[in-house]
Point group: C2
Chain length 121, copies 2
Amino acid sequence: MSEGTAPAAGDAASVADEAARERLLYLRGSIDNLDAALVHLLAERFKCTQQVGELKARHSLPPADPAREAAQIARLRRLAEDARLDPAFAEKFLNFIIGEVVQHHRAIADRAVNSGDAKPV
Amino acid sequence: MSEGTAPAAGDAASVADEAARERLLYLRGSIDNLDAALVHLLAERFKCTQQVGELKARHSLPPADPAREAAQIARLRRLAEDARLDPAFAEKFLNFIIGEVVQHHRAIADRAVNSGDAKPV
């Protein structure tokens, strides 16, 4: 078959590659939108945990709270199942965030002790 | 001072503790709401990356893409700064998610190779 009449096998492959490339860009656009939303929700979550940290430091409460964490993990695993997200990943995710938060709370508590702002126990 | 006329120092402390306890519950309610939103956005993000993984496997593209990841990290650090979230944490968060996604992509690619579904390179 001569050039320009019908697509050759190589052309069909390059059309498929171009369609795949477009689909990849489309999906990456959605991923970028979701990441922006995730970052803003995380910023809001840290505003809340910052306040919790200050409250705990003022009232000399321990930075970590295992019973609360266990309840959070059980709840997030249930929510993940409903949303068809791997519950093990949801648990890893929460542990990752909590690890960061507890570090922040320790830093707030240390600052409060150093400034004499903590309530004596 | 007799009981019932004016709060003693111990009562004032317990009123402060009660107010702190209420404030803690209030903040935890917000944290739980934000976590539910985060889990649902993550579920949506994994739906997108699952499709990316299948597309990459069909077109024999590598599971990891360092140039794309560098661009994502730079963008999320900028967004985090605007939202007053620690940019270093935003980067750690994205690396945590990408690590999980690349594992998923490798699993999808392995399944595609085993089933003979991958496009030959």
